[in-house]
Subunit: 469 residues, 2 copies
């Protein structure tokens, strides 16, 4: 019997996805460049299952029912191109190729065009959920050929996390829609992670709290409106005791965060779309700064700052901290959704933002209870410019903005950096300012570059010879 | 007699550069796609001068002495490619092509390679100074073929602004070094302009000051360490009275700042280099936010905030404001210089940062008295990681950081966005923090993606199965 679908690339994500798909009743062919991994899988977790190992790409292709459906799960970039170059000549018109890696959307557009020229169907598929999600149900964000999607819709819907509002998978749109949405998902992820790291720093340095005490706070917060995966794992991380020292492991982890590039891409793409994403950008720059560990240690001895401790009662500060985190997290979603709205219009993705919110409700890293009101707000008003312009976010802003101001103030007065929180505050404050000082910028531009300006009191385009006083 | 150099593109920058070069004793051939502009120039400002108008590209090329030296001053992007495509077949081995537009550095690399294939010499030349600088002496930032530069060195050195430490022009390095430096110049420019716009907003809304009163403040500041072109024109702008209303013109200018893309490119390139440039990024996002005028007007009625007025004496606040502006402007230069250092290492530009500082001392938009200590600090220590790690900036940080904290606090408590200032504060605070909360980020990444982490107490790379408590 031929396999229903094939997976190329048996690193952990590919393995787990193959096992996940098989567990839903499908026969899955698997292939890996190095034979050993496939053998280990066949002897190990795939034993007795409808997993068909192949040890050459022709054999792999021959094992698939037609039209063939191939999911590529290899390292994004050159790795993907290498596999596609081998696969293209083996496939036939009407076959479907899917790239489930973190491809840059521009690469997806290029590969899709190449596949199209060859009469193949192509999907760029964003997959979020890490190892666990891949095995038990990730969020799946496919985009590309709609007819290609129809061939795998049933498989993908059953493989995806079964969320509170349906399977966390839907066809998002043509072209690179899927990978673009996944990229922005990761941008939001960077921002939420950074916001939580700032809470940790404020509790640690500002309030002298232990990881155990912080875990209690995160546990509380994870019961409420902000409940979500990143909060949940943060609590678990803070509770984890290092076997060797008997102390919280988190304290022994080096403070240099790495990145694989999707947050960077998300920020770069926001800039290309002219989308305002300062919180996501701040999170990326925070990771870059974190990598300068030796420089920071040297600078700590040279550049003075205030004592990093808060005045005020712990309970008061913690209550404010919740409000600050809430608004920062909503800023991240708001900026991401806004970027998607602009990219969809600009790039023809025809995205349904409520559907994006629904797909993110389970399986993925940024799943959160917040996605219920986010989805509702987006569904109620297709033209909603920014999440903060809908309930419950108007009320939450009204309720929490002073908390955000106070937390950012406490941090800045204590010398503790809070780039995600302060950029969120500046972002919303700019958005709710009818008259910004950009008139000065336009005057400056007109002064030195004759770039002209508009006036508030009449139509037209004006230039002034400013030197003639 | 053949012309010493030719300029293609007679928009205002091209015209003014041609006239500037001619004024230094050279014969300049000029060409423009539409005949009229060249005729106007010949009849007008070029009358009686050694300006040789040409009305076809072959005639233009024929009018040049060999090896030919051609400076292209047309709209960056497709415009440049179109002109180059016409010029390439007309030129001969050893001739020199220069692009003086705001080309993206990647385009410059591509064009340089194409020119090289054809046996031509090529320079990507960043030119800053606006219309006035083009005519009276801009900062000139050439990069590409060093032997090509030798052909025009004398012309460029005489055409450039004659700065306090020599002509504001030097060969910066191979490849796209010149355009890369110009791009970062513009990124710094965006950040300084935004910082000054924030001062305006804080004086206007926080202190209820009139433009005239602000002009006095900027005039004072422009006498001191921060003295520079953008401050100078800001004072003039604030003093300019609208003829029709009899009131300060700046108040009638629409608060939507436009951009031509170099600040965006600078930020995107910083991200590619892994360079921390949050203040420059914040300035770009501030322009993007400013463009959302209608949305902001709607949001102002929906999202509440505090009363936008400061407590405290005007003199106290203004003194703090100077400190805040000082550190924000230094942040902009520090981030830009750091990006150049990283890009130079990554891209083989072999930049001399003290020379970059020297070239920026006059003619260009970001010229400022600050470039004296910046140059000195960079010259004293070739490995200086960040300007803030050298005098006088260590002392200035020590002196002003509380002012910056207080200004950002006042702004945030008053609901006035200050993205350039607050991102600068967070930037330096992160840089001087030996232990950042990025350990939490790495733990989260290891939790959901098995990305591993390092420890502070021993060598190696570790992964934890976090779920197994």
């Amino acid at each position: 019997m031929k396999a229903d679908i094939g997976v190329v690339g048996m690193a952990v994500m590919g393995q787990n996805l193959a096992l996940n798909i098989e567990s839903k009743g499908y026969t899955v062919a698997v292939y890996n460049r190095t034979r050993e991994r496939t053998e280990e899988l066949a002897r190990g977790p795939a034993q007795g299952k409808r997993v068909v190992p192949a040890y050459s790409l022709p054999a792999f292709i021959a094992s698939l029912s037609r039209p063939r459906k191939v999911l590529v799960m290899v390292k994004a970039g050159a790795g993907t191109d290498a596999v596609l170059a081998e696969l293209f000549p083996l496939l036939e018109e009407g076959d479907l190729l899917m790239d489930g890696g973190n491809a840059h959307f521009a690469d997806t557009e290029r590969r899709l065009a190449e596949a199209e020229r060859r009469g193949l169907r192509y999907l760029g598929v964003g997959i979020s959920g890490g190892e666990y999600g891949a095995l038990h149900g990730p969020a799946i964000m496919p985009g590309g050929h709609r007819e290609g999607y129809a061939l795998v819709e049933e498989i993908l819907l059953r493989t995806a996390a079964q969320g509170p509002e349906g399977p966390c998978c839907t066809f998002l749109g043509p072209g690179s829609a899927g990978h673009y949405v996944k990229m922005v998902h990761n941008g939001i992820e960077y921002a939420i992670m950074q916001a939580i790291a700032e809470c940790y720093d404020l509790m640690k340095r500002g309030l002298s709290m232990t990881p155990e005490a912080m875990a209690e706070v995160f546990s509380d917060w994870n019961q409420g409106e902000l409940s979500g995966y990143i909060l949940e794992i943060t609590e678990k991380i803070l509770r984890y005791v290092d076997r060797e020292t008997g102390r919280p492991l988190v304290e022994f982890i080096l403070d240099t965060a790495q990145q694989k590039g999707t947050g960077k891409w998300s920020t770069q793409a926001a800039l290309d779309e002219g989308a305002c994403a300062p919180t996501i950008a701040a999170a990326v720059f925070a990771r870059i700064a974190s990598a300068l560990k030796e420089e920071r240690q040297a600078a700590a001895d040279v550049l003075p700052g205030p004592r990093a401790a808060f005045n005020g009662e712990r309970e008061v500060v913690l209550k404010e901290l919740f409000g600050a985190l809430y608004l920062t997290v909503v800023s991240a979603y708001a900026q991401g959704m806004r970027q998607l709205r602009q990219a969809s219009a600009e790039r023809g993705y025809t995205l349904s933002l409520p559907e994006v919110a629904r797909v993110w409700m389970d399986g993925c890293i940024i799943r959160s209870r917040l996605l219920f009101p986010i989805r509702k707000a987006l569904a109620a008003n297709a033209d909603l410019p920014l999440l903060f312009m809908a309930e419950p976010f108007i009320s939450r802003w009204t309720e929490h903005h002073e908390a955000l101001r106070n937390v950012v103030t406490r941090a800045h007065q204590a010398g503790i950096p809070v780039p995600a929180m302060s950029s969120s505050l500046d972002f919303v404050d700019a958005y709710r300012t009818a008259r910004l000082p950009a008139n000065v910028l336009q005057a400056q531009r007109d002064f030195f570059g004759a770039h002209t300006y508009q006036r508030v009191d009449r139509d037209g385009t004006f230039h002034t010879e400013w030197e003639m006083l």
